[in-house]
Symmetry: D2
Subunit: 225 residues, 4 copies
């Protein structure tokens, strides 16, 4: 696990403690994107599920805004939510249309169990816990895609556009911002020595479980067509 991107202190600690981080970031689906030999049908299956995923991912940012402690936290979560529902989701619809999946087909997508498992885990962590539980469960997605994009940068091939989205400066800057948001949120609530607290263990466990479910999400992309 060399070459970890510098998305902050919490990310470094949680990543190192998540047994499935390698399985997630080097999943066969990801390698297929990198080499360009992932069958198109699997990619399209993934895109359809990703649309449903983005709805719940947006809801998680909305919940983070509702559970924020500071105006700065609210603004960060609100900005992420706004970008998702007003820009990324319409973009996703356009991208899917180009691939022959129209809006009606997207709306009709039956959410796969692996999708349900991951999104509901994140949302429930947020509802039952507080802002920290939510961002710890959310982070493997936001930051993992950043790490994957960074590793796959320049791979070219049929999935170059997807790769460039996550390898690009805009997404990498977002990852640094979210990492910093998480670090500040932890210190704001638990002080600078938070990694020594029992609470750190439960948050690392949130991150590790969400990572495990991300593996399942890739696998769903590979299995289901």
């Amino acid at each position: 696990m060399t070459d970890a991107p510098d998305y902050g202190r919490a990310f470094a600690l949680w990543r190192a403690a998540a047994p499935d981080w390698q399985a997630y970031t080097h999943h066969a689906f990801v390698e297929g994107l990198r080499r360009g030999d992932l069958p198109r049908a699997n990619f399209l299956h993934y895109l359809r599920q990703d649309y449903v995923f983005l709805i719940h991912f947006s809801r998680a940012w909305a919940l983070a805004a509702a559970k924020a402690d500071t105006l700065a936290e609210m603004q960060a979560a609100s900005a992420a939510l706004h970008a998702l529902v007003h820009h990324e989701m319409p973009l996703h619809v356009t991208l899917c249309a180009r691939e022959g999946i129209d809006a009606a087909a997207l709306e009709a997508t039956q959410e796969a169990p692996a999708n349900l498992a991951y999104t509901r885990y994140v949302l429930e962590a947020g509802y039952s816990g507080n802002f920290l539980d939510l961002v710890a469960a959310h982070a493997p997605c936001v930051l993992g895609y950043g790490e994957i994009g960074r590793r796959l940068a320049g791979s070219g091939g049929p999935y170059a556009e997807w790769i460039d989205t996550y390898a690009g400066d805009a997404y990498q800057a977002l990852c640094h911002d979210v990492g910093a948001l998480i670090d500040r949120a932890l210190v704001h609530r638990l002080g600078p020595d938070w990694p020594a607290l029992p609470r750190a263990g439960s948050l690392a466990s949130r991150f590790a479980t969400a990572t495990r479910l991300e593996v399942g999400f890739w696998q769903m992309g590979l299995d289901g067509v």
Copy 2:
């Protein structure tokens, strides 16, 4: 209760069924704004409390986005949240600074019981209930200020700026949009004959209780200095 603005069907029904609607929209605080004889100290007290209120009001829109059923509902709630935390709250800070209340003083405001009562009632309605409970508890504020602004339009005097904000086209358009959002949300879930369902009674009761707590909010502005 003549001269009700046309903010949609649910508003018309809920407003007519809320015993304290007149007490809220014609409260002595409101009349003081209209006549211009509300003591400045009371207005400033209100402004400080309103800052704290806006934080929780924003959180309620965030929760609405998390609990939305459709992408259109998410977008509407997200747009409201975004406008609040990125524009209205900074504006409120500027306005307060002009009145001699700096940001530190705003942050240090102790939330009055009437403020706690209203904001927590709305948020808890949203958490314990669903999207409909949340918007029903939220509506007296959003739409009541619209009705008050419309009635006070052109009053002039020292509070003309406050009045113009809510009487203005932008805010009135927002009220129509929110009213339509609520009407669509009701039909989407409960069908066109929703007013005949028992559920309509519990939603009207949410609206009526929130209206009662709005009366308390004005009274707090009048009492506390």
Copy 3:
């Protein structure tokens, strides 16, 4: 799908509309319990996961009590919660111990993705929706086990004790009570013609999705050892 038990009106409607009901109630795992040829290792794997399941199942009843509208609903949910955490869970621990799985092993169980998917789906439905969403998502478990127990009654064999628990009068009475609770809750909120409302569709969908995740739960029992 003949021979549906009479657990009330909502159950009958939701069951008939859930495409995976047969796949759930006649799953190979269930047939293995009936014929007695389910490998013990699979049963023990299931028991361990079921312990984790029961924790979240109890939390769902607790959330139902928090979201109840009437004292009767609170009392029903509270009684279910109480029975679970003070009687069934200790009993489960005892049963597992007899099978050679001690309390420490139970506590150390890593929650399987199929378990995460189902439990978090139910809890998130409850948090994001209201009491009705929660019970609709909860019902396939409570009532499905009743239907399975009833069908397998008298099968004998190594799993007779498990079968008798769910086939027995006490559990069947519980199913009738829960079915009646759901029916009353629906009429209380939506009136007697609730099946004609759009809301009925979203609740049936909650039930159907939860049923689909129950299939995954049995499959997990069959796959994982």
Copy 4:
């Protein structure tokens, strides 16, 4: 503030940091109970509001069970919920009936703003925060009544029955149990040095705000008839 009961470490710290603790525990309503000269009408007004309060108080315990981290926490919260909805609330109904307030009148009680403020503050703290926020906001009621009962023990007079309930061994034992539950929950999550963390400040603030709202609850009993 001598003579604090020994309900644990968190209680001692939070109590000492709550500016309104004396105003709450020595409120004129309380002194009226002690001296026996509180007008009966005020006591009955309080009893009616207290019925509505108990519903939300029970819901808060239910939410605590849903948000618990350990089986022991779930069992404690479940036991409190069970005692409330199956014993204390029926008892309250009986007591009120003896005073000439029948069940229909209790059900028809309009919740006073001070009641709404306190109960929704507690529940919203629980929903937006986690188990710790919930118990910190809940504690002034549970433990404050214990301290008041202990101080008023043996006062005799027309309110001796009320006093004896909270002064009695059963209630005092409950206070010790709840105090210990809170202390264990804090150490379990934040470690033994939790009072040094920023989080301790936000929890003390939850306790202090809830205490302030308890003052409002007594005042409501005194004002409203």
